[in-house]
């Protein structure tokens, strides 16, 4: 049975690392749902957070093949219950909508915040689970969304030390 897994892949910061990591998934014909890359808590050690649907058996094999890469330090796999995770989204809507009390209420209730107020548009930021981000998208849709973007998942482990 397939379920959602989040892999944390810790690597050196070297050119081509992204391709090396994604090659392992491509070879096994796995489509990624989300990918986020950033420097980790250790300077010059990068963390790839990869989200996709898989089975525990396949995960074990993927970890082996990822850890076999020379510049990979360690790989951890987690189910959603084992991590604290969030995504971030930005929504651009017309400024004149602010005069509409309904939009203001949606922003408040969604625990979103306004980042920028331009003469023509406002930028709204929402951090949360994908369902919350999608729900806000749905609510704003009827008023017209000029632009939308959502980040990949970022996650930290619930255990004290990974």
């Amino acid at each position: 049975m397939k379920e959602e897994f989040t892999l944390s892949v810790f690597t050196e910061n070297s050119i081509g690392m992204l391709t090396r990591i994604t090659n392992v998934f491509t070879r096994r014909h796995i489509n990624l749902d989300s990918l986020t890359v950033s420097e980790s808590e250790v300077k010059q050690v990068f963390k790839y957070t990869v989200v996709f649907k898989s089975t525990q058996e396949q995960i074990d094999k993927l970890i082996g093949q990822l850890e076999r890469l020379v510049e990979v330090f360690k790989v951890f796999a987690h189910k959603n219950t084992e991590i604290i995770y969030q995504e971030l989204a930005l929504y651009k809507v017309k400024t004149d909508l602010l005069s509409n009390g309904a939009v203001e209420q949606i922003i408040r209730e969604s625990q979103a915040r306004i980042l920028t107020v331009d003469r023509e548009f406002i930028a709204i930021e929402k951090t949360g689970y994908i369902e919350e981000i999608e729900s806000l998208f749905a609510k704003l849709s009827s008023f017209g969304i000029l632009e939308f973007t959502r980040s990949g998942r970022v996650a930290i482990n619930k255990a004290m030390i990974e």
Binding site: G16, R20, G64, R68, V70
Partner: protein, 564 residues
């Protein structure tokens, strides 16, 4: 005092000399010219073999590495020079062969612009190299080469590509060579706990029908002696994968043959009868296991491998030990009890007798005056005691060689296992001869595979390399034809070959040769081949439609062996 500077190209040559490299296989071209220019001054220290095609260079480097246990080194230019290496890189990667390829690249300012002879070598070779790296500064050359050698030969060995831009070759740098002893994100030497070995030894000690499978991991970790002692103490029947042949001499009392699709009857069938299956330095390739859902289900499996990614990849192990084969055998040696599995070994012998009887029946169907492929290998074994280096190509003759030549000495079995690369044998034999000049090296190829890198006869001529060549000519792509016969209703779609005069071609390269087709000529012709002072080509016309048996059809279980 200011340190003396040299060019990046000179740094390449000096670094190779610091790594004690004596032989390089290569082919010059625009983007690697500075390195070849630096080589011009060191020709007496670094022996460069000019091949006829870059694929020949990398297969030669593989043959060199496999016979000597050293790293094989290749030079090639950018673009087509680099892309011609790809098949060899894939071959070396899947067969864990340590090779370092140094490739020229366009100048760094032109990277990414579709410059003349520019190819994204790093991108192309990434999935088929253990590591690759693009060097754009002269100062990076020495540390990168040091790292490349360390990575290529440590842990599970493999090929490494270093792509060096032309400006980095020209630029000046100081040179202070330090061998690489550690890469922080890479742990090639596993530190297994004793608990796994204790559990493994308990299973082995209690087993009624334990069975040992060995692979190339034994050869790569130079554990042949530890293996022999372990086998003799435990009394384990032992079978080998294709690439493990030679790790335990074929004439050893406990050696029970080869595994896999064209392996031995008992060696395969007993996999599904043993109670404990011990696999060391092998990776349960699909050609070995057949249908995995019907593979060794009754057995408790102990799997020992240096590559953690191989453990539980194909076959779930009761005890999986991430360890080097030599270390594992030494550790287990102290934990296992002396045993003799006489009755169990006898079952293997009975299986072998049954197989021999069945195969003899197949042979009777053929004209006894004509030569079958196996006859040539049997004569070769008789004349050499199974102690020469045999480099086989890919196809029917490869399986027949593996089955009929007796590999009685380690590091003498060179063939393309995982990738199954036709055209491998001739260049790999060139490399093997250079890697072990005192041994007789015989390349055995089919008529089709021989033509895939036939241009390397030019390398043999120019560098005077004493490679012996046997072409087993059935005028067919024999293995494909066999499958067409068995599984595609004899619809022989593009498998029949019209061949050239091979002996005539060899003569054009100043290589003596002979063609035979009668059984009565066989022995004398092989004697002549072996006694020839240098290179020699023997073309043997064999039965056109001989099939390789035993055979486990794709998708069948190892218990379902066809003998005719």
């Amino acid at each position: 005092m200011q340190q003396e500077k040299i060019t990046g190209a000179q740094a390449v040559i000096s670094a190779l000399l610091c790594e004690s490299v004596q032989t390089v296989f290569g082919y010059p071209g625009g983007a690697i010219m500075p390195i070849y220019d630096a080589l011009y001054d060191k020709m007496d220290e670094l022996n460069h073999i000019l091949v006829r095609h870059e694929q020949g260079a990398i297969h030669a480097a593989q043959g060199f590495a496999r016979v000597s246990g050293e790293v094989g080194v290749v030079f090639a230019t950018s673009g087509p020079g680099a892309t011609n290496l790809i098949t060899g890189l894939a071959d070396a990667y899947i067969d864990s062969t340590p090779v370092v390829c140094i490739i020229g690249q366009v100048t760094s300012k032109l990277l990414g612009t579709d410059a003349f002879q520019e190819t994204d070598v790093i991108g192309i070779s990434m999935p088929i190299t253990k590591w690759n790296y693009q060097v754009t500064k002269a100062s990076e050359i020495a540390p990168t080469i040091a790292k490349a050698f360390y990575l290529a030969k440590s842990g599970r060995p493999g090929p490494v590509v270093i792509d060096i831009t032309k400006d980095a070759q020209f630029d000046q740098t100081t040179f202070d060579y330090k061998s690489c002893l550690n890469v922080r994100s890479y742990a090639p030497s596993p530190q297994p706990d004793l608990a796994g070995f204790i559990k493994a030894a308990e299973l082995i000690n209690k087993a009624k029908k334990p069975y040992l499978l060995i692979g190339q991991g034994i050869v790569l970790s130079k554990a042949e002696e530890e293996l022999r002692q372990f086998v003799e103490k435990t009394g384990l029947p032992t079978a080998s994968t294709l690439l493990g042949l030679g790790a335990l001499p074929n004439n050893h009392a406990n050696f029970c043959g080869m595994l896999g699709m064209h392996g031995d009857y008992a060696a395969n069938v007993k996999t599904n009868e043993c109670d404990v299956l011990i696999a060391i330095g092998m990776r349960f390739d699909d050609r070995v296991t057949g249908d995995v859902s019907r593979y060794a289900k009754q057995a408790k499996v102990i799997h020992i491998d240096i590559d953690a990614a191989e453990l539980n990849k194909i076959i779930k192990a009761e005890v999986a030990i991430h360890a080097d084969a030599k270390y594992a055998l030494q550790t287990l040696m102290g934990l296992v009890e002396p045993k003799q599995h006489t009755h169990w070994l006898e079952e293997f012998r009975l299986g072998k007798d049954y197989e021999q009887t069945q195969l003899a029946k197949n042979k009777q169907l053929h004209d006894s005056t004509k030569i079958m492929m196996e006859d040539a290998l049997k004569v070769l074994t008789e004349l050499t005691g199974g102690e020469i280096v045999v480099v086989s190509d890919v196809g029917q003759h490869q399986m027949i060689t593996a089955r009929n030549y007796a590999y009685n000495k380690n590091n003498t079995n060179i063939t393309s296992g995982g990738l199954g690369t036709m055209g491998f044998a001739l260049p790999a034999a060139i490399g093997a001869k250079l890697g072990s000049p005192d041994q007789t090296v015989v390349a055995i190829a089919g008529d089709a595979g021989f033509q895939m890198n036939i241009q390397e006869l030019g390398t043999i001529m120019q560098s005077d390399i004493g490679v012996k060549m046997i072409i087993l000519n059935n005028s067919f792509l024999g293995m494909v034809r066999q499958w067409q016969q068995l599984f595609f209703e004899k619809r022989y779609s593009f498998t029949e070959m019209t061949n050239p005069n091979f002996v005539g071609i060899a003569q054009s390269y100043n290589i003596p040769g002979k063609k035979i087709s009668e059984q009565t000529e066989l022995r004398e012709a092989i004697v002549e081949l072996l006694e020839a002072p240098g290179a020699y080509l023997l073309e043997i016309i064999v039965e056109k439609e001989e099939n390789v048996y035993p055979m486990i059809p794709t998708g069948a279980s190892v218990s379902e062996v066809l003998l005719n």
